[in-house]
């Protein structure tokens, strides 16, 4: 079982995401992460799908996706040199005092931004690969994570 990152270029039309995600559920393929948005040309969108599976499984995923009329191109960028990022917002419990300054130190080490401060909580914004996000999550957990949201991974081939 390997994790594959598929970059799928699709028509920017309503219902396309439903077609793609519906195909995954219908055929029993499990989506690890999915991120979608318009891309360099406004009439197209790029979906980044991270999916687990062996080579035969991934081959079938790609072939089935290719059958969708609104799918223009699929690139499996796992094996190619690529950059990938994910954004996460973490709302963590932070009483004023030592606890708050410790959290701010952790944020500094991880180059996370503090984007909201309130009496009892901080909201951190962190960008990076999945491992980095999991690492900061582990470190913040003892303080009490109130809410966490992740965008899913986006990736582009280098060069």
């Amino acid at each position: 079982m390997n994790q594959h990152i598929l970059s799928v270029l699709v028509e920017n039309k309503s219902g396309v995401l439903a077609r793609v995600s519906g195909l995954f559920s219908r055929r029993g393929f499990n989506i690890e992460s999915l991120a979608v948005g318009t891309c360099e040309t406004p009439d197209m969108s790029r979906i980044t799908i991270v999916v687990d599976g062996d080579d035969t499984h991934i081959e079938q995923v790609k072939k089935q996706l290719n059958k969708l009329i609104d799918v223009i191109k699929i690139t499996d960028i796992t094996e190619n040199e690529h950059v990938e990022r994910e954004l996460s917002l973490i709302k963590v419990h932070a009483d004023p005092g030592i606890q708050r300054s410790e959290i701010m130190q952790v944020a500094g080490i991880f180059r996370a931004n503090i984007i909201d401060v309130s009496q009892k909580a901080l909201v951190l914004e962190i960008t990076g690969d999945s491992e980095k996000i999991l690492a900061i999550k582990d470190l913040l957990e003892p303080y009490g994570i109130i809410e966490l949201v992740r965008t899913g991974r986006v990736a582009l081939q280098r060069g």
Partner: protein, 564 residues
């Protein structure tokens, strides 16, 4: 100015549509109003499900795209089984559905259903049209998608306000839409074809396994030429029947769960299996571990996703069966029968294990089918329902040409056959069309007797009546200790029902009546129903139990087909 409905009718005519099958309702009234003055022929069915099956039967018989029309909500939902049937068997159908006005979409308005959402998994593609300017473009794309590549159903959902919207002809979007993501591969890769040829030259026991793809690509002549070129025996799937003539010396008939013994032995023994337009369905392969265990595999298919889905081929060739087979014949250098001992072996199997029927004076369904085949000289168009009747027809009718056999293979939709046969009658007006049904499946769309009567459709209806849901009963007999849970049906006076619709019919309950009854029905100019009261607990043999290897058949050497 033209309304959306008028543009729709224009577009259908431009696509060469002559007949559509449908059922009116509130949302599609603008279309029906246009149809009133149009020269498009509309056939009023009695249930929307029959409309889509009829369009499907029309498509299968003619090779053209079949069209059906329904209203929104319940009408559209009634199309779903038929669309799924066409999707599983790769049949080009365009389904037009009415929809509530765009302003009410998503409001749970009266007779609203999200039919594009509902049919997404069972269509090749679907459209919700939000502006009448798009209608021509959408219809043209829909016909293109339905009828090319791996064919399939396309649905177009048309809100009522779009159908009444008036559009200036100069604003209508041109129909040459570019479908960026849709480019089916038709021509096989020449290096792969060369590899396949090398493998054929090396084989000692090659076998062709032909599926519905051969029929839909019109590759039957090429298949015959290819098989004859190297003298390779051919077995076909249920969907591939007719791809090679029944009396061709290389034809082994159908393989799989109810295939012939000799075809199943040949698959098990072959050292090279050449799959053409077939998808290694579980009803064909049985336990896949033991399917063609000693064979290398060449798999030709127009749909790349079929290749490697169930088995991993040694040589995959993506392309249209007609083009790939003709290229294969063209590129062949060595020709002639180089595997004579194998062909002889297959012939011996065929002689020793024929599909036999009982000769005990009782009314056996196989006898009815064989007599029909004899009377029609293996001609006509045979449409089956689903179940035992389907398998008996597949086994015992002699098909000579493609598009002569119409049956729901992939989805196995009971109730498909009768309306599909009505569709076939409209596609091929000069042909004798016969629907072979069970008493259970015939009752699933029996209301279409009304359509047959109204349009005097000259359909011959053959009911193999055993007062059971026969195939389910057979499984209960063999695998559930004869516990016939809810599979017994009370006797029905089918002839009386036909008479109520003004259709002639006859009850047949003895062997001696079979031939005269069939002749009478075939010779009669209009519709005719024959109710054959067959042996009640007759089984379809041979049979491969689910999960077994296809060489492990029960009911073999069936000299008496009723007793395994």
């Amino acid at each position: 100015m033209k309304t959306g409905a008028a543009l729709l009718i224009d577009s259908l005519k431009e696509e060469g549509v002559k007949v559509i099958f449908g059922y009116p309702g509130g949302s599609v009234l603008p279309v029906y109003d246009e149809l009133y003055d149009s020269d498009l022929r509309h056939i009023l069915v009695r249930h929307e499900q029959a409309a889509v099956h009829a369009a499907d039967g029309y498509a299968r018989a003619s090779g053209k795209v079949g069209v059906c029309l329904s209203t929104s909500g319940p009408g559209a939902c009634n199309l779903v089984s038929g669309i799924a049937t066409a999707n599983m068997d790769s049949v080009p159908v365009v389904a037009l559905t009415g929809q509530v006005p765009t302003g009410m979409l998503g409001n749970d308005a009266f007779q609203e259903s999200d039919i594009t959402g509902i049919t997404m998994p069972v269509t090749k593609h679907n459209y919700l049209v939000k502006d009448a300017k798009e209608i021509k473009r959408v219809v043209s794309s829909a016909f293109h998608i339905a009828g090319t590549g791996r064919k399939g159903p396309v649905l177009i959902d048309l809100p009522k306000d779009v159908l009444t919207q008036a559009v200036d002809p100069k604003d209508v979007l041109s129909k040459d839409a570019e479908l960026r993501g849709y480019k089916p591969t038709l021509k096989g890769h020449s290096r792969q074809i060369k590899k396949a040829l090398d493998m054929i030259y090396e084989a000692k026991k090659p076998l062709v396994y032909a599926g519905g793809g051969v029929i839909s690509s019109g590759a039957s002549e090429e298949l015959k030429e290819f098989a004859e070129l190297f003298c390779i025996p051919v077995t076909t799937t249920l969907m591939g029947l007719g791809a090679i003539p029944c009396d061709h010396p290389l034809n082994l008939g159908m393989l799989g769960m109810h295939g012939t013994e000799y075809a199943n032995y040949a698959v098990t023994e072959c050292d090279l299996l050449i799959a053409v337009g077939a998808r290694f369905d579980d009803r064909v392969t049985g336990n896949i571990k033991y399917f063609a265990p000693n064979a290398k595999i060449i798999h030709m298919d127009i749909d790349p996703a079929e290749i490697g889905k169930n088995v991993c081929p040694d040589v995959p060739i993506v392309g249209d069966a007609k083009l790939v087979l003709s290229e294969l014949c063209k590129m062949a250098e060595k020709k002639g029968c180089f595997c004579e001992p194998w062909v002889k072996q297959v012939k011996t199997w065929r002689e020793n294990h024929p599909l036999a029927i009982a000769d005990d004076g009782k009314l056996h369904p196989q006898y009815v089918i064989r007599k029909l085949s004899e009377i029609l000289d293996s001609g006509g168009i045979i449409v089956s329902e689903v179940g035992q009747n389907q398998m008996w027809a597949a086994q015992h009718y002699g098909f000579r040409r493609p598009r002569q056999w119409i049956s729901s293979g992939g989805l196995g939709t009971m109730g498909f056959g009768f309306p599909a046969a009505i569709g076939a009658c409209f596609a091929k007006p000069g042909e004798t069309v016969v629907v072979i049904a069970g008493d259970g499946s015939f009752q699933m769309n029996i209301q279409e007797l009304g359509t047959v009567a109204q349009y005097e459709v000259p359909l011959k209806m053959v009911i193999l009546d055993n007062m059971y849901l026969g195939m389910v009963r057979q499984w209960q007999e063999l695998f559930y200790d004869r516990r016939y849970s809810y599979t017994e049906l009370p006797p029905v006076d089918f002839v009386g029902i036909a008479k109520a619709y003004g259709i002639k019919g006859m009850l047949v309950d003895s062997v001696k009546e079979v031939e005269p009854a069939l002749r009478k029905a075939v010779d009669y100019e209009g519709p005719y129903l024959l109710d054959f009261r067959i042996e009640r607990e007759e089984n379809v043999f041979p049979m491969v139990p689910a999960g077994a290897a296809i060489s492990e058949m029960i009911g073999k050497h069936c000299k008496n087909a009723g007793e395994p």
